[in-house]
Symmetry: C2
Subunit: 215 residues, 2 copies
C-alpha cells in the first residue's frame, strides 16, 4: 500500500509526522514524502527540515494521501502544483486525508465540495470558501475523505484510518506500540475547553504571524 | 534558550518531532537537531529523513536536551559518541530529558543513576542496568531530569516542560495551538489497558525486529 505525504516549505512538522508514525507501522505500508521539487522542506519554524524524496510525477497513484497544513499552505494555494497533484490523484485514491490547514488544500483541489470537513479551529470558517460544511469534530469521515483538526489531531485520524485499512486489532497494536495513552497536563486543547484568555492569546499570535507573512 | 535534540539513524520520528512541535513554540526557543556527523538521519522505518544541522561540538551547552529513542539506540549504546555528548552537556543543562528508549542513552551517560525513570513499556526493566528505578508513569520528573514513556508520551512531557520553562499560561497556549485534545479511537495505549492479545502481538513484533537487527 502506497501512502504519500506531500511536503512544502512552511509545513507544520507534527501534522506530517503524527500520521506518518501511525501509518508507517501498517504491515504493508510504503510511505513516501512527495514534493514538486524533492529535497529538504523546512517547517513553519525554519528549524526542522524533512526530506521529500519522491517527485509528484513519480507518485501518480497513491492509495492513501495525507496532506499536512501549516502557514506554508497560503503559498501552496497560490502556487497550484500541490493542489494540481491532489486533484489528479484523488480520483484513484482509497483514502484522501488532511491534517490541520491541509484541509484548505483539499478544498482548493475540489475534494471537499459538498462535504463536512474540519481543520485547525482558527481556520474552520474558511472551509466554506471551498463549498465544504465546517464541522467542529476532531476527525470527520465523509466517504473516502477524512479531515482532521489542528496538528495533533492527525494522530487520532491516522489511528482511525489504520483501523479502516487493517482492522481494529492492528490499529490497537499500533496504538500500544506508540504508547498512545495521552495525559495532557492541562485541559486546554480546544477553544471550548481553554480559558478565554488562552484563546485570545493564540488568536493574536496567529494574526501577527499572518500579517508578517503577507506580501 | 537553546534546545538540542540529538538525531541518529534508526530513531523513532515522533519521539523527536512530538516534543519539537511543543518546545519550538516557546517564545524564546532556538531548537537544533544535533549529531556527530550532520546530514539526513533516517528513522527506524527508513522512509523518513530529518536533517541534523549542528555538530555535537557546536552544541556544547544547550539549556534543554531531548533525547529520542528507537531501535537505533542499540547502535548508539555501542558507538559512544552520542552518550559522550550527553555526559558532557548534562552538568550545565537546565533540563535533560528523554522520550521512549532515549532513556537508555541517558542511563548509559550516567544521568539516571539513583533516579526513578521511565521509557517505552517494552524496555522498562532495562533501566535497572543503569542504576535507575523503573517507574511505570507516563512522565517522570526527578530534579532536572525528565523521562517520558514510549513515543507519543514526548508530547505530554514537552507540555509539562513548557509549563516549567515558561509558565502554565504559555504551555496552555501551546496546547491550544497544536489543538492537543486527544481522542484516541481505542483504549489500547498502555499494556495495562490493551487486550492481552494486543500486548502479545506488539511484544512478538518487537522481538522479531530485535532478532533481525542482532549482529
Amino acid at each position: 500500500m502506497n501512502i504519500a505525504i506531500p511536503l512544502f516549505d512552511g509545513f507544520t512538522a507534527l501534522d506530517a509526522v503524527g500520521p506518518y508514525e501511525v501509518l508507517s507501522r501498517l504491515p504493508d505500508a510504503r510511505v513516501s514524502f512527495v514534493a514538486n521539487a524533492p529535497g529538504p522542506k523546512r517547517n513553519d519554524k525554519n528549524s526542522l527540515a524533512l526530506l521529500a524524496e519522491v517527485r509528484f510525477e513519480d507518485a501518480p497513484a497513491p492509495h492513501v494521501v495525507v496532506v499536512p497544513g501549516g502557514p506554508g499552505v497560503r503559498a501552496m494555494l497560490e502556487d497550484g502544483q500541490l493542489v494540481g497533484w491532489i486533484r489528479a490523484v484523488h480520483p484513484t485514491t482509497v483514502w484522501t486525508t488532511s491534517v490541520c490547514t491541509g484541509a484548505l488544500l483539499l478544498g482548493a483541489a475540489g475534494v471537499l465540495a459538498g462535504l463536512e470537513a474540519t481543520t485547525h479551529w482558527l481556520a474552520l470558517e474558511r472551509l466554506q470558501e471551498f463549498g465544504a460544511r465546517p464541522a467542529g469534530r476532531r476527525v470527520v469521515v465523509q466517504g473516502k475523505v477524512i479531515t482532521a483538526a489542528g496538528v495533533s489531531a492527525g494522530i487520532d485520524m491516522a489511528l482511525a484510518l489504520a483501523a479502516r485499512l487493517a482492522g481494529d486489532d492492528v490499529a490497537q497494536a499500533i496504538q500500544l506500540g506508540i504508547e498512545y495513552d495521552p495525559e495532557p497536563p492541562f485541559n486546554a486543547g480546544s477553544p471550548q475547553k481553554a480559558r478565554p484568555e488562552t484563546v485570545a492569546l493564540v488568536r493574536a499570535v496567529a494574526t501577527a504571524r499572518d500579517r508578517r507573512s503577507s506580501p
